[in-house]
């Protein structure tokens, strides 16, 4: 047993007052959760302290909240850890700070309006299977791995922690967002779905769709179920690229520019990166296309601003042919590695965990938890 202080941001809609802070002293085992602490305060002190909760075991997704600034589930955050986290930098007098989730209107205390934000976005992605043709007499026969693959998205409990933490949504409230896009991958990646391509077009062409994500990793940190929504968004982007869907951020072309330059040159000649990212050269050649030239001319003001502000310091690197050669035929070795990888279809993508049997070190995961 230990004593903890919970500093809760409260809001009582019928009081006519704005939000305010209230501290509750609770006494419980450090291995119990922040939610257990809140429930103790509610049971013993103030029954009007409002929080959605049900399973207490991180499966129902009710108790999304912000603890010490980090979005997560109250029931999955051990109160001892939360206390340590609140007091990393000083002697131990700091309370555990509990607030409602972000990016959602607050209804009362820790209860937010998920319907107008989270669920509306979920419905935006046509969240049901759209198979083509008659169902088979027995089950659909599919690759076993494909089911395991989308089970990562199925593990989502719709708690909203990722939505709460999403920086893109803070900037663009219309962003479809991490939870709904992870849900979308569950269908795009499902071999039984007949409209994966239409879904990809829909999500790519929406200005608030898959290209609105800025890779901040917050949703991956916040997700209590290992769904890694950003990974699912990146998979959607990659599939969209494979479908030849135009990426307004040139993200896919940018990625492919790296690949092609390495393939052709055996080294990353950065002078070619910009032109290739704007528009790939014709017939796989590293020659700027008309469109690339147009885009590059259009970006001159940006380049000048960059030079003036000191953000762009290596102008010579942008001049073709200046890039130094690697010694001892290393460029040919790199080309050989590329060819080998290409022939063996080996994936090197930092976002996508392949089939390999690599598990995170348990200590690593434990450290992550303490910051939750």
């Amino acid at each position: 047993m230990a004593e903890y202080t919970l500093k809760v941001r409260r809001y009582q809609p019928e009081s006519g007052e704005g939000a305010y802070w209230e501290e509750f002293k609770v006494e419980l085992d450090p291995s119990l959760s922040v939610l257990d602490g809140i429930l103790q305060a509610k049971d013993r002190e103030d029954g009007s302290l409002a929080v959605r909760c049900s399973c207490r075991a991180a499966i129902c997704g009710s108790c999304g909240m912000t603890i010490n600034g980090q979005s997560g589930l109250g029931c999955k955050t051990q109160i001892g850890h939360a206390h340590e986290h609140a007091n990393r930098r000083n002697g131990g007098g700091e309370p555990i700070v509990v607030e409602p989730m972000g990016n959602m209107p607050v209804i009362k205390d820790l209860i937010t309006d998920m319907e107008s934000t989270h669920w509306k976005k979920i419905r935006r992605v046509t969240p049901w299977l759209l198979p083509h043709g008659e169902a088979p007499e027995r089950e659909y026969v599919v690759e076993p791995e494909s089911m395991i693959d989308i089970t990562q998205s199925m593990a989502c409990i719709q708690c909203g922690a990722c939505v709460s933490s999403c920086l893109s949504m803070e900037a663009d409230p219309d962003f479809i967002g991490p939870a709904a896009l992870a849900k979308a991958y569950r269908f795009v990646g499902d071999p039984r779905d007949g409209e994966s391509v239409e879904r990809l077009h829909d999500l790519a062409e929406d200005p608030h769709g898959i290209y609105d994500c800025t890779h901040c990793f917050n949703c991956i940190d916040a997700c209590p179920k290992g769904v890694a929504p950003m990974d699912q968004i990146m998979r959607l982007r990659r599939k969209a690229g494979e479908e030849g869907i135009e990426d307004p951020n040139s993200g896919h072309d940018h990625e492919m520019a790296f690949v092609k330059i390495i393939e052709k040159k055996g080294t990353l000649d950065e002078s070619l990166l910009l032109q290739e990212s704007f528009a790939p050269g014709l017939k796989g050649k590293l020659k700027p296309s008309k469109r690339a030239i147009k885009e590059m001319l259009a970006s001159i003001p940006t380049a000048i601003r960059g030079l003036r502000s000191g953000k762009m310091r290596s102008l010579p690197k942008l001049i073709p042919g200046v890039h130094p050669k690697l010694p001892d035929g290393a460029q040919d070795d790199v080309k050989a590695i590329y060819e080998h990888a290409e022939q063996h279809r080996e994936e090197f993508n930092i976002y996508i965990k392949g089939e390999e049997d690599v598990e995170p070190e348990p200590d690593e995961t434990a450290t992550e938890e303490t910051t939750a």
Binding site: E14, L32, S48, C55, I150, G226, E359
Partner: protein
């Protein structure tokens, strides 16, 4: 006053399945739940769902295992219906998009489960309930023009017409605190079980026996209320569930001496004997001093290959890590039997019909009875879906057949008065609601658990009756309208106490040991006198007991060994 042909109360698997089945018949459907549907407790079903779908397996074999598992208290006609219709239901779910595990050929793959003579449990890792329920919710969103969803509405009572038929419900909109009357030609209760009556329990905080109590209060019969399942593998103190799938994958149970003690209790099925048998074995080890000092035994999952654990028991890895600080892939985890499932409930026929016209029940709220004295693992999801679907279809047929009736006068006003009375209680006028809940839970867990005897049950019953009186003056803090969870808690306490009273009375009545009811003062099963259901109806001084026959079709009672 919202009106639907069919109104479903509760939006877990049984409720959602019922709503979809009713909508398929072209009637107007409303589904109402005190939490958002995906928060429902069907989420917690980890291990899987049974069906005899593999070549070489048969529904008869599944049915026999279920009959034997029930300790011959299950109604065999109902069990036959459930097992016969199981394969088609699995395929239906697969076609809707459930991401069931595949074998190497890409077809549906199975895992072994307790009390089953074949591997016939279909699963999605160890989130089967969640995976199915989220897919059903997808279908509810898809069919939103034929199924109206009332999310976060709390039911306070069933509404009856002058003829004593059920014709709606009185509800509280949690968001604004308004009381409203909903009318319908048929009402389906799918409110889950009553696990919160015990503490600890694997059940969610919402499992307060609402449906059972509401039906009881309007005179519907309850059945098998003494049959409460204690799950063999729950985390001590916190009550979290470790799926039976862990043992299905090969995990061992060990006592403090490191002995695989199930050898002494179930030499053939070992850890995969039925749940009542395994729970009693564990409790015996603990009571006789062979457990750990914290009153537990160990579940050793390290014997399962690591890759398989990460693929098939993903959730349990997280439960171990987050809630017990144990890496289950590297060390055994301490567990004990814990309250888990309500076998009994509102007595229904195979179409979900209760004794009250217009009132249906399905899932854990109901007692068909397919589980009898003990439910087999992975039969609960099946129960919710099969009887959810059948209730939905039959309720729709009733709605097409009858003219709607109006609730008797004053139904709404009576409920509003009740709520106002709770709000009006002054602080300090009695005990806190939370205190009464705690006393109820610990009492039931101490006296009406794995092993029971007359003195203990009697003591629990007296406590429950005292708590019922205390609940009448229990006060709450929140006087507001918006999300007043305090009011809901006070009403739930009333539901829980009705459930507890019925369970105690039934446990006291059944003077034998069968399934989950083990009486140390009557340690044998007694088919001559007790091969019958205990039915219960509300009387002036608590529950009135009657009996009904167990339906036998093809399986005569035998001695039960595993």
């Amino acid at each position: 006053m919202p009106t639907h042909d069919v109104l479903v109360i509760g939006a877990g698997l049984a409720g959602q399945r019922a709503a979809l089945a009713a909508a398929e018949q072209g009637v107007s459907v409303g589904i109402l739940s005190k939490v958002h549907p995906v928060r429902s407790h069907s989420n917690a079903a980890q291990g899987g769902i049974n069906a005899a779908l593999n070549p070489g397996d048969s529904w008869e074999s599944h049915a026999f295992d279920t009959v034997k598992g029930s300790d011959y208290l299950g109604d065999q006609d109902a069990i036959e219906v459930m097992c016969r219709e199981a394969p088609e239901e699995i395929l239906h779910l697969e076609h809707l998009g459930v991401t069931f595990h595949r074998n190497e050929e890409g077809k549906l793959g199975t895992r072994a489960f307790g009390g089953a003579s074949a591997a016939r449990t279909y699963y999605v890792a160890d989130i089967t309930g969640q995976a199915i329920m989220h897919v059903l919710y997808e279908q509810l969103m898809k069919h939103s023009d034929s199924v109206a969803r009332y999310e976060e509405w709390f039911c306070t009572a069933l509404a009856m017409d002058e003829q004593g038929e059920c014709c709606g419900v009185v509800t509280r909109n949690i968001a604004d605190g308004s009381t409203q009357l909903f009318t319908a030609k048929a009402v389906i209760l799918a409110c889950g079980g009553n696990g919160q009556v015990w503490r600890p329990t694997t059940n969610a905080l919402i499992c307060t026996g609402d449906g059972i109590a509401m039906a009881y209060r309007v005179g519907a019969k309850l059945m098998d209320m003494e049959m409460i399942q204690y799950h063999p593998t729950t985390l001590a103190g916190k009550g979290f569930l470790i799926t039976e799938g862990a043992r299905g994958e090969g995990a061992h149970l060990l006592n403090a001496k490191g002995e695989r003690f199930m050898e002494r209790y179930a030499p053939n099925k070992m850890e995969l004997a039925s749940r009542d048998v395994v729970s009693r074995a564990e409790q015996t080890e603990i009571d006789e001093g062979r457990g750990f000092p914290d009153g537990t035994v160990a579940l050793d999952i390290t014997v399962v290959p690591r890759k398989r654990i990460h693929e098939a028991l993903r959730e349990i890895v997280l439960v171990g890590q987050d809630f017990a600080g144990v890496d289950i892939t590297r060390e055994p985890i301490r567990i004990k039997p814990g309250n888990h499932y309500t076998m009994g409930g509102i007595k229904t026929d195979v179409d979900g019909r209760t004794d009250v016209p217009g009132l249906y029940a399905a899932g854990e709220t109901a007692c068909v009875s397919v589980h009898g004295g003990n439910r087999l693992g992975a039969n609960s999801l099946l129960d919710t879906l099969i009887f959810g679907r059948r209730s939905g279809a039959d309720a729709a047929a009733r709605a097409k057949r009858i003219e709607g009736s109006r609730p008797a006068r004053g139904a709404l006003e009576a409920e509003q008065a009740e709520i106002d009375a709770i709000s009006a209680r002054e602080k300090g006028s009695g005990r806190r609601v939370s205190e009464i809940k705690l006393e109820l839970g610990t009492t039931m867990d101490a006296k009406v658990a794995v092993f029971r005897d007359e003195a203990g049950i009697q003591e629990a019953l007296e406590t429950v009756r005292r708590l019922k009186q205390e609940a009448e003056s229990a006060y709450i803090d929140d006087k507001g309208s918006v999300f007043n969870q305090d009011i809901l808690g006070a009403i739930e306490l009333g539901y829980m106490l009705d459930n507890a009273e019925c369970t105690c009375a039934a446990a006291l009545e059944r003077k034998e040991s069968r399934g989950a009811q083990y009486r140390t003062d009557f340690p044998e099963r007694n088919d001559a006198e007790w091969l019958k259901h205990i039915d219960m109806q509300r009387g002036d001084d608590g529950p009135e007991i009657s009996y009904s026959e167990v339906t036998m079709t093809q399986w005569e009672p035998q001695e039960r060994t595993y």
